[in-house]
Symmetry: C2
């Protein structure tokens, strides 16, 4: 690795279920964040089925592409398609051998589990034995579930960290993997990563592209890695500087903030949800929701964070007109006059939620999420949102959102979070 | 490819934001499902950053691993880090050239967008020109957003399908990609995939592993590909037969169903959520939710499906004690006597939701999602659930769930969905 270059890493996630669309991988993105934070450049994230040849090929590919650190996830379980320990041993040129001490550790964990659940017998014994096979010379991590992770040095090749697939076990094993001697030796060679992350709301990616072109004409940006990512209305711009280019990164940050200040959410990497939590905690305000088309998605987003009970009063999912009237006091004749999807009803949902739940901020959302239910005047994607506060502030939006039912519900929730942020005074001053 | 073998495919998803953990990829899993349905064997799913060398290496790796179909997602956008068309052209040995007709199509789309949003100018023109560069000989797909997808035949190599990264555009482009002549020629060679999918609730993966070992002693399962996937309490077992092995697959299905009938959810691939929707639609029953720790997650799950207004009355997120009492009639002295997290309060939440929202089935959930709020008697993970019906049926569960705050909320929601399924008579008869 050249001076100033970040060492490359690769992640190989195993599991045939990931390749039939049965389940989405969450370990890859989680490890990606960790590796970026440590200063590695993640070159490839590979998902492979539970086939020894394909896993072996993936390991070789990642090593050939220059990875100095190779992390695998999954394939340590009790079934015959759990092959990772064997394949990694072959890759590293090491014997796989039965480890008495590991076996004793797993057996003790399994005994406790059997006592609680009543499961035991030969299937459990075979699983325990299988999970006690370890490549010779590997560092065995303390198990979080039953399958222990491994740190496997390879002669002249990458360091291989073998982690279990269940996300809770993978995340729980990560700190002990970092603490091992081979990993510490590798980390000592990683230059500190300088990274800045800007978030904007309602700014098209093409505008940032144009700004980057213009700034790039005056400033040499070649020592920076700039990535942009649009997620519905939120745009994230990540700027990573190689060592020595930190000042250029700061200059670019200043330029982008100056040019797009009106759409700026944050300069410290915080997304809308984080900013909403901060603003509500700082102001001491509480929030209540009255949702129709989003059906609880907004309340659930608000409750996602630990400590949200400090600022979430609760909410009502008023999916039917009767529920809107009975639980949130939306006048039945208002629904008849303007329709359930209307700015008037959004306002009444916001006010009703705020008053009935005794909150400072009320949010109302009503819309046509589709695929059915659209009319010429109010096609699928028509959504009315309103945020009202106890001191008389009202922020309303009436929009037509594109995409599927899921898209429309998610975009509505995003926009509602942004409006809460505005009402709670959590936006940077322009 | 040998007779009876499924042709291999690979998916290469580009985007540096996927490798810093900024965003999770949803295109890979979606394409995985599509490819499995068409009868391909997805060998690898690779995520690579927006670096030409890494993308090129990924394409070569997938081709070397025997992929006859190679699908890329992303990198067709307006910014300089959008490199896919160039890299695929190089991979296929084709010139990249400006396409007048594509340019006219994109310009017309962009003009409409500019008129609506007010954005225009040189940044938009440059983006349009960049997105009009096409490898010579490629089939250009009708654009769903602005960037058109491509189907690129390579001499003696895999067929490359280049799709845009935004999920809506990728999914929208897929049918036209399938309809192209080169894709139709490839599909004509794909043997029909026979696949069966069993779902169980509350069955540990090690028990299925043991059943597979036992059945495998009597029955030759080598022509089957069996994958198991545990997602919280739900276990999916997928059985794919090579042509000729369909009867073996059926025999295995019968064995597994017979051995684990009590935990069986479905034999047709349906998951809990799908079964709940079916059972509620078939019975004409409606459901209402009273949620504390899950905070709207259950309501949102129920509303996920199109047509859910037929059976979802609505719900209340009663996060505070005051909300539980005011909106769902939970007696304040009951909360004092038993605590907000108690079977009594779960029952009162279920009854209150059912009565206040006029539904047939009420669901109550109250628990300690953590990380704070746990006590010795009721540690983090303690959750009480109750489903009550208008005709006097009551199903209650008091559990201690493992994992993080997000895990506990999701597992609680899973269990609630299962209890609704049971109450609505949607489980197979044992």
């Amino acid at each position: 690795m050249d001076a100033g270059e970040r060492p490359r890493a690769a992640v190989v996630v195993t599991g045939s279920e990931l390749l039939t669309g049965v389940i989405s991988d969450s370990n890859g993105p989680w490890l990606a964040t960790e590796l970026a934070g440590l200063g590695f450049e993640l070159a490839h994230l590979l998902l492979v089925g539970d086939r020894a040849d394909d896993l072996a090929a993936a390991l070789r590919f990642a090593a050939d592409a220059g990875a100095e650190l190779l992390i695998t996830s999954g394939g340590l379980g009790p079934t015959a398609d759990d092959l990772t320990a064997q394949v990694v041993a072959d890759f590293a040129g090491l014997e796989l051998e039965f480890d008495e001490q590991v076996h004793a550790t797993i057996a003790a964990i399994v005994a406790g589990w059997s006592a609680r659940t009543g499961f035991s017998g030969p299937s459990v014994d075979a699983a325990t034995r299988k999970q006690s096979m370890v490549p010779r010379g590997a560092v065995v991590l303390p198990p979080v579930g039953t399958a222990p992770g491994l740190v496997v040095p390879t002669a002249g090749g990458p360091l291989v960290v073998v982690l279990p697939g269940p996300p809770r076990e993978l995340r729980g094993s990560w700190p002990s993997a970092l603490a091992t001697a081979p990993m510490q030796a590798l980390l000592a060679r990683v230059p500190r990563a300088e990274s800045r992350s800007l978030h904007f709301f309602g700014l098209p990616e093409s505008e940032i592209a144009e700004s980057l072109r213009e700034v790039g004409a005056a400033l040499d940006l070649t020592a920076l890695e700039v990535t942009t990512c649009q997620r519905h209305s939120e745009l994230e711009v990540d700027i990573r500087a190689r060592p020595g280019a930190e000042e250029t990164a700061e200059a670019l940050v200043d330029e982008l903030v100056g040019r797009h200040r009106r759409q700026l959410l944050s300069t410290d990497g915080a997304r809308t949800d984080e900013l909403v939590a901060r603003a509500l905690l700082a102001s001491g305000l509480t929030v209540a929701t009255g949702e129709s088309c989003t059906g609880g998605m907004l309340a659930s987003r608000l409750v996602d964070r630990a400590g949200s009970s400090a600022y979430v009063a609760g909410g009502v999912v008023a999916y039917t007109n009767e529920a809107k009237t009975a639980l949130l006091g939306v006048p039945a004749d208002m629904i008849v006059a303007h329709g359930a999807v209307s700015p008037q009803v959004a306002r009444a949902l916001a006010d009703g939620a705020r008053e009935r739940l005794g909150a400072d901020i009320g949010v109302g959302i009503t819309g046509v999420a589709g695929p059915g239910g659209g009319t010429e005047a109010k096609p699928v994607g028509t959504v009315s949102l309103c945020v009202s506060t106890g001191d008389g502030q009202v922020i309303a939006r009436d929009v037509r959102l594109p995409g599927s039912r899921a898209d429309i519900r998610e975009r509505s929730t995003d926009l509602a979070m942004y409006l809460i942020l505005r009402a709670a005074g959590g936006l940077p001053t322009p």
